[in-house]
Symmetry: D3
Subunit: 301 residues, 6 copies
């Protein structure tokens, strides 16, 4: 090993050391990560994400991944010639559609992410994929109109098997995280009769973060964060700010429920909620270097 190499290594070691205060702080705490968008499509970003998840686990953080999967569902429905309809941005989910939704989420995307993470984990850490139907992980019911209004959606027709979360089987998650497994969760809920529900992945992530008393809830998105009227990223946003921005039409579409679910998490014991840019390589690991986090932090008031 040449002298040059050692100097190089020392610089790297110093950078590792910069992470120590954060590792120390986050050790033993829970991070819930909503995984989606480009970070799930781009091969390079996928690898970067998987490695980050594994590294967070190795430094003692209990990582829980919740994923979405809209584009893959669309694609499969198209291939199968099933007509898709969106009502107020929400997929109208009849029984046939629900069948495909679940299959794609739990059988394709979920296992793909599990394999991706396992590729980078060692002999003592593994990802395990779960749908909300496994062990009745996510009990759900048909989403109520009030709930829809609350997240800014007005509908005039029945949207079928679109669900909201009733409760989370915390025991199952604990027994998995205690054993050095990383749960990877498909946003499918289970109703009283065992029927499946299609649930917004942001909502699932938020409810799991609340149930697990998480330290951080991180939404990986295809935007730099919540932006103000000038298009600048807002580093910290309160409930009142949000209401104003929605009123002004600056926060709109899918960002409305995301921000609402983020606020719900913050108001129910989750320490920090961040909406960050998943298109940035290692965006997840950046959390290790920044106690305040990156992108937009959603705060209580």
């Amino acid at each position: 090993m040449s002298v040059h190499n050692i100097e190089d290594l020392i610089i790297k070691a110093k950078i590792l050391q910069e992470a120590l205060p954060y590792i120390r702080y986050f050790h033993g705490k829970t991070f819930v990560i909503k995984y989606g968008g480009s970070a799930m499509k781009d091969e390079h970003l996928r690898e970067s994400f998987a490695k980050d998840v594994v590294l967070l686990k190795y430094v003692g953080i209990n990582v829980i991944v919740v994923h979405g999967g809209g584009p893959q569902i669309n694609e499969m429905l198209s291939k199968l010639g099933i007509k898709q309809k969106f009502v107020g941005g929400i997929r109208k989910t009849d029984e046939e559609t629900m069948h495909i939704v679940e299959m794609v989420l739990s059988g394709d995307i979920n296992k793909d992410i599990v394999a991706l993470i396992n590729k980078h984990s060692g002999e003592n850490i593994y990802a395990v994929g779960l749908s909300g139907r496994d062990g009745r992980l996510i009990r759900a019911r048909k989403m109520k109109e009030d709930f829809l209004k609350e997240i800014g959606i007005e509908i005039e027709e029945d949207i079928g098997y679109v669900g909201e979360v009733v409760s989370v089987n915390v025991d199952l998650l604990n027994s998995i995280t205690e054993k050095n497994y990383i749960p990877v969760i498909a946003p499918v809920g289970v109703g009283e009769k065992g029927e499946a529900y299609n649930i917004n992945a942001d909502l699932v992530a938020s409810e799991i973060a609340i149930s697990m008393n998480a330290e951080k809830l991180i939404f990986l998105t295809d935007t730099e964060g919540v932006k103000d009227e000038n298009g600048d990223v807002i580093s910290s946003i309160t409930e009142r700010d949000t209401q104003l921005l929605i009123k002004k039409g600056i926060v709109k579409g899918g960002m409305i429920p995301k921000v609402k679910f983020a606020l719900k998490a913050v108001n129910n014991g989750v320490k920090k909620v961040h909406i960050i840019d998943g298109r940035v390589e290692h965006s997840l690991l950046l959390e290790i270097f920044t106690r305040e986090g990156i992108g937009t932090e959603v705060v209580s008031n």
Copy 2:
């Protein structure tokens, strides 16, 4: 409650009591059940199967379910217009096909069985679906030609992602069965690079039974058992019998690997292996009443 009712109940209680010697004997032991065929399609048989699995669990038997899914895969591939090819009875599995195979097995059939069982289980027992990629449950490699020959298949072209089992993550299964969960396993394996393999579900069931040191391995089939040249069910069959029947062409097709995997299990510590008729209601529960079991028992020699 009328006198009549009590007499009725007493008869029922006596029948319950007939199960006691078997419950006593099987308490704390492991049953691996290969679930497939009509028992998976017929609504009435499905309910009967699910209740049986739950009851076995409640009387202290560690039940592990492994399922197949050929017909559903065929159907989905057809719908998607993907050409299917079988070589020596084995599905030629290119990457595109593997993708659909996994999706249907892990995302559709698996979750469906999980929900089916959970419908009948209580607040303390749950089914949890796993694919062989979850927690690297089933490490696999491309099936070798020797192996194919061994199970009576000669192929002349590459069959793609068809796998054999390298090892089973027993720790993961134990941590799940200890906690009153019933694992439901999709026959997908994971290769060294994380790639998925399509594995014969009978083989997966056999290998899991061996790894878990099971008391019983039960194949639910659409036949009454292995039959002799007169079409009569053979109650007990040895390795030598098998070779003879294969030679004579009486045991053939998919029954050849099934019998071979059954023999492997018997020769590697599994106490009892049965090939039974899944078209018979509660066929699984019949095991509780019969220490010798029903259908054809495969024995060592």
Copy 3:
């Protein structure tokens, strides 16, 4: 196995399945059973009782048996030529009598029941006999006059070592039931100085059910239940009903304290209390088929 047999087995399996909802519900809960009367004398009923206890244990119910033993005590006292005297239905228990009472209860009846149950249990479940003096299981004191009055007894002379329950050593019972042992308890209490007390077995059963927070307390008696003025069994009886029936002289004698202790249990957290007919074969197991139970249920009001 002939086809006929299989059909037969299926009917039996269906009957087993009828028990599933009850097994599911009672799994992990505690049943305290007061065992006495004909069910303890008739050889056929004894076997039926023992098998039922074992089966309840195998399906996950924590069974605790409390037994009486009046007739055997009378017989032994007679043989030994010791004069017996009953005051208000209660055995006057001087030191010599207490000595024989304990010997018969703990050394004869108790061990007999233990052996009876163990005859039907397997390698992993055992009955263990305990007297209230073992591990100070039942701390007792001389029964007070108020208590006697409360259960409808007026006495004019000292009745000696007749006790009431002060406390139950729950730790000892838990450490035994956790380990797959079935405790069989003789109704003998221990005083502050280590002296033995003769305690009404119904009272012991009631106090243990309360201390163990039992799901069910079942009195096996030689009657079909509590009867009304027409001699018909009352399926459900309240505190007020009881007072009326006692006043009218319809509920009388030993049934008065039994009903009082049943009410105490119901009023102190025991979910269900039943007075049932122990002369009916498998009467205990009938509980498995009936969430409401059989005979007379004693309810709070």
Copy 4:
């Protein structure tokens, strides 16, 4: 507190300290004590025995008590007018006799000893009485002729329910001693069909000492130890010495089996076996002061 008192206390403290090396050595080890004879009858010796057992437990020794009860059995049989017959020193035990034997041992003597010990134990240590039928603690079978010959007894008629030990349920004893309970064991065994056997208490003590891998097995007797032809106590005796003394008729009667069982224990892993004088107050505690023990030590060769 006067100065005089303190000097007194210091002397006592010094004496306590003399016990330290022995406490240190015996901490965590198992002592099996065969309790019988005068130590069980004389009120003063009984108290001394109970206190000693409790103190041994408090200094960390796992004490297991096995008791006999011949005189009490004789007395009860006499009172009941049941004819007693001894063949070669062994009680001929027909079914009626066995019934009384068990009742007296398990229901009278056993509970009496339990209460005696509990009188001196605190809130964290308790005696629990067990018969060999509880939890199938002592599996037994009819004593074979060979066995009888081996212990110097020739019989010409059937002696009924006299048993030898087949196996000891070590799990049950461990689960009790781990929990700060002191097991007190009645020498009754259980046969394959649940039937009771009358077993020599010395034999039970020896077999339990072997099964529990005991440090010490102590027989409390009504003699100062094994004596030589001059009537002097022999401090240490080997197998060969024993044979010679038996041949010469110096060791005879009930001392023959006692010495044989002692030798069996020594030859099967029990570290020290002592035959001591139970008529000496605190004879048991003297073990604490003497690593070699008192009375006669039985050694391997």
Copy 5:
């Protein structure tokens, strides 16, 4: 063994038995012992102390030793030519002095006591030395003026690294005492920046007794106890008595803080606090013989 010896042993056994009620009572409870003065210097007293500590541990008492070390510190400082200054009886502790104080306490005296105790303990009990810096056992801060006034000390200059206790790492102490280790603690605290503080050993003992919810706190001193104006030892002293005696100048010097710390312990849950004469051999063990203890007991009011 001669008859004479046995009689001798019996007397000793009786004396052991006199300790039983106390052992029973103190079993599982915690004693914190402040060790210092002659008991730490005189070879004979040292041995007596070590044996007593070990014996207390063997009879199930969790012993925690806190030691001082003034004379040894003085000696080392003298040898090194470092000027010593006392302000109001408190050592002015600059950085250089603190360095020596810690070294002598943690490296010399502490290890010396550990070795002393281990000399008398067996294979299953060990002393482990800890300073307040190990595992941040004793978090400390600079002693405040108010605190000094409270214990009767007025100072006019800075006394340097003299600390008061902020908190005790109870987890560390519990994990050590659970494992049969005896913690021996040097009275050094650790500040926020890791700096060492010299803390009064009486204060450390008192704070540890409070944190560990101790049954007894015992100060071994070079006096017979707290004395009244006639020089007679007061067997029991209250807060009000103390104030009066301090006012009168009868309690003075180092006895003032000792009594104050004793009172603090009593007022914060420690059951009994004693100031006893460490010059008396086995003074510690005398506690076993006396529920009221010896010397002066400090009581709440």
Copy 6:
């Protein structure tokens, strides 16, 4: 956070990710680190060392630190005017010297390192200092002449309390490392009579690495590694190489025992042994980046 910052953070994250394969590999394994030389003196290197130890612990490596302390001992002995004598490079250790050696090692250096590490650890990780006398951690005996010869030292006079390791109390170390504590060990051993021994810290590190079945044993030295005749660092050295280099006088002085102890470790199950340059900042952490390690690796043959 500016864009610039994010790019910066990404580079840092990438560097963190480079450590992942090593973290994955070393997770759950034990590193024994011999700490000494400049790394213990230079303030900057001290901080770098402490942070590295803490970071290794946080990523799941069980770190055990063994320290030396020659220079500080020399200094203290000088200050105290105690004559020092070295025989064959070994300190002649009479009783007075041993006293100071222990005091400096256990009371000064040890606590200093403990405080240094604790300064950088969080709320869940702590360093705990231990001497070989605590809990009889390092049982020792006087070093034998053979041993001295073996490590190349010939002496003609008695060297006093210089010890070799007899055994290590692995239970104590395990109970500490399991609880998230980092043991910091002073190289003092305890003899049969409790006397202290001065032991070469390299020897202590080697013996602890062997006993704990360590993955790595790392000697932090004031040299770049073992050098060849040209003064170039040898990256890997075998037993034979060593013998040759010693013969040629190239490896000499204190490097001889160090290499010998390293070889002993390698030959007794320690996976990797490295002699590295402690003067290089973060030299310890460099291990995280290099599976082969830095400096000179000592290999078996």
